[in-house]
Amino acid sequence: MTPILHWKRLALWSGAAALMIVLPLVFSQSFAISMMSQMGIAIMFALSYNMLLGQTGMLSFGHAVYFGLGAFFSAHALNMIGAGTLGLPVTLLPLIGGAAGLAFGVIFGYVTTKHSGTPFAMISLGIAEMVAACSLMFPSFFGGEGGISTNRVVGEAVMGIDYSSAREVYYLIAGWCFVCMIAMFALTQTPLGRMANAVRDNAERARFVGYNPTRVRYMMLMLSSFFAGIAGGLAVVNYELVTSESVGVVTSGNVLLMAFIGGVGHFFGPIIGAILVTFMQSALSNYTLAWLLYFGLFFLVMILFAPGGIASLVTLHKHAWHAGQMKRLVAPYIAAGASGFVLLLGLIGVVEMTYQVETKKEQAGTLMNLFGFAFDASTAQPWIVAIATMAAGSLLLWGASRLVRAGWHDVTVAINAQRGA
């Protein structure tokens, strides 16, 4: 095991810090800054989620409860700061969110963590639904449909920082994100973090060593809801609005997708997932109404073919790279990429035409424009082209997947030969 303060690790963390500082200076457009702020919040949220799923093996479908409730309490606290009844610098507002998240983690965690595995997953979903239903019952706290809006430029400006510009908000988020990242990483190195892994892998053995798995799960859930609450508090500063959607099941599902796509088996996996998913959501939703469908398909493909997420793909290729065997994979990957692209083109054609014919016909008619071609989606010809492209792509991909498999076989043989020599 690498010592905690190994120079490589220090270099990696300082590099990350430097990157977070420099990024808004390079991409200074306002949409880039707001997207990076979103990414920072998503990273914290996804990492806190992975404390449950990746580190303790608890699949939760209700993590947004802690994020959302943290956000609501922060929003009310911010309004109180604005009204002058609470003397707290806005910089420390996320602590309110964290405290709220922690408090609800203590309450709900007591009920949920008595279970593990599938029952835990179902109960977490039940709790999430309960909180979501409550959020519409108490409009004075949750603000009903419109949510609670607030204003972040309140209170005393500390050293001239009053969060009136998006860049100041970005640095606030980045700072909290960095601190939380370090804290969550450090937690994985503590005895509690290690016992969480033991409970994940074999709860019975953990009990034999003298630890109570329920208690380990409970503590991990409380800590994780604390970090989720901090992320919620930052979301309030960023958007100046919080609606009942943020405690909803969609938000819970979203964080699950982020962590899983990034890879739950590695600490840095959810970071990749959060960045990628946030980017995909804001980029794709500009181009197509069916973006959720593409996103869901992407998720399914990941589960079927890369259940360890992107992080596991990275570590897989690291071995091949170190052994100097990447050259065997280049040709199969190009083939797979090209045929996958053909399949994707056909799929996009079919999906977009279906959308045009079934749901957009009334407003926009059946004439449409895709990849620079203008055509009428009610005629047969574009359908034949799209379906033929899809079929050709599937066939090619099937062939290419055999190439990839053969390539990996060669790589494994070569690596084993190197080890043997």
């Binding site: 279970h115 599938t118 835990f120 019952m137 398909l297 998720f299």
Partner: protein
């Protein structure tokens, strides 16, 4: 009295519908250990398929075609999806069905739009079967109850009185032994999954027009079915049956009551006004709290009896 009888009948038909869903879910769970998140999506697909079929062929063919189509999709899901992810463990399986539910909802958006579709009760069943005092009770509700009870009787007979039913029961507890005796356990799994999907599809066919057929129906029923399964005890058919009826009754009755804690307190002589502490909490009526009640019941059950009503295992 009149209100009570009518609501009891309504809650019975709704509870039986819930059981058609939860029986499939709990069978699949106890057999494969997979909690099928897409189960309610199959229910939704059943309703939409029936709607589409009924626009061309009418209701009766739809009653047969839609569940069969859903069963076919269920078989495909098991064969090419779940069996592939099975080697990655239960979490991957759960996530697979979660992703599938996501995609099915998007497909429904894509094909039928976001607004509810006009899936209507067939005219031949659109009359009142009998009247309770002054209320005309719709025949379709009676038809729903008969369908569910008939279906469940068939399910019971198949599970207990036929060869395949015995093999299914044996595969629940001793899959290796059943395999060693020469039965194809993976294909039994596929059959059960398809059967459960067909039940959900059928529930969609008869429930879609009684309630409403819209893209949100899977999410709204799905979590209730989960509550039923947890409440009744994971993997217990009898528990699921009782829990379905209880949750069905709770949901149906609670929307009709306009009483709140404030009513009670005022009745006891406590004066309440908008300035009172926790005023919002006191004035929430039972009808307003209706969406939360099943979840509260579930949480209470978990505190009192973590394995559920009739469950045999815990976590």
């Amino acid at each position: 009295m009149e209100f009570f009888l009518v609501t009891t009948l309504n809650s019975l038909s709704y509870g039986l519908l819930l059981f058609m869903l939860s029986s499939g879910l709990t069978l699949i769970f106890s057999m494969m250990g997979v909690l099928n998140f897409a189960h309610a999506s199959f229910y939704m697909l059943g309703a939409y398929f029936a709607y589409q079929t009924s626009t061309y062929l009418g209701f009766w063919p739809a009653l047969v075609i839609a569940p069969l189509a859903v069963a076919f999709l269920g078989a495909l899901t098991e064969r090419y999806g779940l069996r592939t992810v099975h080697r990655y463990g239960h979490v991957a399986e759960l996530l697979f069905t979660f992703g599938l539910a996501y995609i099915i909802e998007e497909f429904v958006h894509l094909l039928w739009g976001r607004a509810p579709v006009e899936y209507k009760i067939p005219e031949i069943l659109d009359f009142s079967a009998f009247s309770i005092f002054s209320t005309q009770y719709p025949a379709y509700r009676v038809f729903m109850m008969l369908m569910s009870v008939g279906m469940l009787a068939c399910l019971y007979l198949v599970l207990t009185r036929t060869r395949i039913g015995l093999i299914i029961q044996a595969s629940l507890t001793h899959p290796e032994m059943v395999e060693a005796l020469g039965h194809n356990v993976p294909s039994v799994f596929m059959t059960v999954f398809a059967g459960g999907a067909a039940l959900a599809g059928l529930a969609g066919v008869i429930g879609g027009n009684a309630f409403v057929t819209e893209p949100g129906m899977a999410a709204s029923v799905g979590t209730i079915v989960f509550v039923v399964v947890v409440f009744g005890g994971m993997g217990s058919l009898a528990g699921a049956f009782i829990a379905s009826l209880i949750i069905g009754a709770v949901q149906t009755f609670s929307v009709a009551f306009d009483y709140s804690l404030a009513t009670l307190l005022t009745g006891l002589g406590v004066q309440l006004n908008t300035e009172s502490a926790w005023y919002e909490l006191w004035k929430v009526t039972i009808a307003q709290a209706a969406p939360v009640l099943p979840y509260i019941l579930m949480v209470l059950m978990l505190i009192v009896r973590p394995k559920g009503l009739m469950g045999t295992r815990e976590g």
